[in-house]
Every structure is written in C-alpha cells, then in structure tokens.
C-alpha cells in the first residue's frame, strides 16, 4: 500500500511547518508555499510524514492511500 502526500493549495497559508518537519520530501518555494519533491512517501520517513501532516495548522497537508487519481476529471 503506497501513501501519497497532497497539498490543498486553498487551505495552505504558508506556515512552513511541513518543510521543517519533512525536508526530505518538502521544500518551500520563494513565496513560502510547499513543493512536494515526491508525492509518494517512502517507508523510511513515514513517521516524519505523519507528524508533518498532523502539525499543519490549516490541515492543508493530506496523506492519502492508494495508487492514483480517479479517472474522471
């Protein structure tokens, strides 16, 4: 079962805690918003990823199970 991270860009207000807690996967752009270097979470940083998701003050970082997006756009 793979886990993927996703950012809700509307909820995100650039607090930046996710990048502090998960620098392996998240970088901040020049305006302070998160860039996901890789959406898939490797097992080695799973705990850190969960902590980052939990720490986000606006619940903008999401962790989802599964393979991919639904087919219908």
């Amino acid at each position: 079962m793979t886990y993927r991270l996703r950012v809700d860009p509307i909820a995100c207000t650039a607090h930046g805690m996710c990048a502090e807690l998960l620098p392996e996967l998240i970088e901040l752009d020049p305006w302070g918003y998160p860039i996901l270097l890789s959406p898939v979470v490797p097992p080695s940083v799973m705990d850190h990823a969960r902590r980052a998701v939990d720490a986000c003050p606006t619940m903008a970082l999401l962790m989802e199970e599964g393979i991919g997006r639904p087919l219908l756009s």
């Binding site: 207000t13 003050p57 619940m59």
Partner: protein, 183 residues
C-alpha cells in the same frame, strides 16, 4: 486520615495546582497566538511553536484535573463534583466558582474538538477554537475571585504578568495583521 481531608494540605494543593494551571493555560494561549502570528526565530522553528502549544494544552488539562480533584476531595469546604462542570451549583463562592466551571467546559470543548480535528473539518474547528479567547480571561477571573491568595503580592503579580503577556502578544498579532491587511 481525616486530618488529611480536613487539614490544610489539600487546600495548599488546590491553590498550587490552580496557579500552575493558570500559568500553563497562559503559556498555551501565548503559543497559540504565536502560531497564527507565524512566529519563528533563528533557532526556533515554527513546528516548535505549534508542538509546544499542543503539549502545553494537554498538560494544562492534567493540572486542571488535579486542581478540581483536590478541591472536591477537600472536606474543609464542601464542593460537589458537579460544581466543576455546571455553573451555579456550589454554595461556596458561587459566582467565582461558576467562572471556573465555565472555563473548564470551554477547555474541554477546545481540547475535544482539536483531537477530532480531522473529522470536524477546518471551518468548524476554527469556529470552536475562538473560544480560547473566552476561556482564558474567565479562568483568570476565577483565580482572582475564588482564589484565596489574591492578597499575596507574588500571586497577584503573577496573575497581572500573565494578563500583560497575553494582552501584549495579542496586540502584536492583531494590530500587525490589521496593518498588513488580512488575506
């Protein structure tokens, strides 16, 4: 044994835990305001602010439980457990104790909604969390009114200090936000 329940030991414990609860609650509120104010220093990452805020809040609950426990168990003055949750049910210092009950209820709401935040959704959670700005002053007022130490200079100064800290940080946060223009 009855000396324990009738003597001053529990009373000291109530006052001590009450004081610590006030300090912890003040610290929680301060850290909460600093979180939304995006406080970050050179060696102080932002996740520390929000992490401490959460841990402080939980610690506040622990000391609050001790504070309520020692009060209820103390036989010197008879205060029923229900008075801790429902205002206007104790005969001793009815009004000031009721404030404590209100503050406790608000704190339960704050902590409970935060624990189920994921299921609640952001907007509902945020709406509840504004109650923190009601909980803290009510708790402080309870301390001043129901507490027996307010005449002690040290305790009084501590309370004023807490009030000043929160007022100061809140002003920094909200005046700064108003100047920058809220998004």
């Amino acid at each position: 044994m009855s000396a324990f329940f009738h003597g001053p030991a529990l009373w000291y414990a109530t006052r001590a835990t009450g004081l610590v609860t006030m300090l912890l609650l003040t610290a929680s509120v301060l850290l909460g305001i600093l979180t939304t104010g995006r406080f970050a220093g050179g060696n102080w990452p932002r996740f520390l602010t929000v992490g401490l805020h959460r841990n402080m809040s939980l610690l506040t609950v622990v000391f609050l439980v001790l504070h309520v426990g020692t009060t209820v168990v103390d036989k010197f003055v008879s205060i029923p457990l229900t008075a801790a949750f429902i205002p206007f049910t104790s005969s001793y210092k009815e009004f000031w104790l009721s404030l404590g009950a209100v503050a406790l209820d608000l704190l339960i709401a704050l902590v409970a909604t935060s624990l189920i935040r994921n299921r609640l959704g952001l907007r509902a959670w945020r709406w509840f969390h504004w109650a923190a700005y009601a909980c803290w002053p009510v708790a402080l007022a309870h301390g001043l009114g129901a507490g027996t130490d307010r005449s002690t200079l040290g305790v009084f100064m501590l309370t004023i200090g807490c009030a000043a800290a929160v007022t100061g940080v809140a002003t920094w946060r909200f005046v700064g936000a108003a100047r920058a223009g809220a998004r």
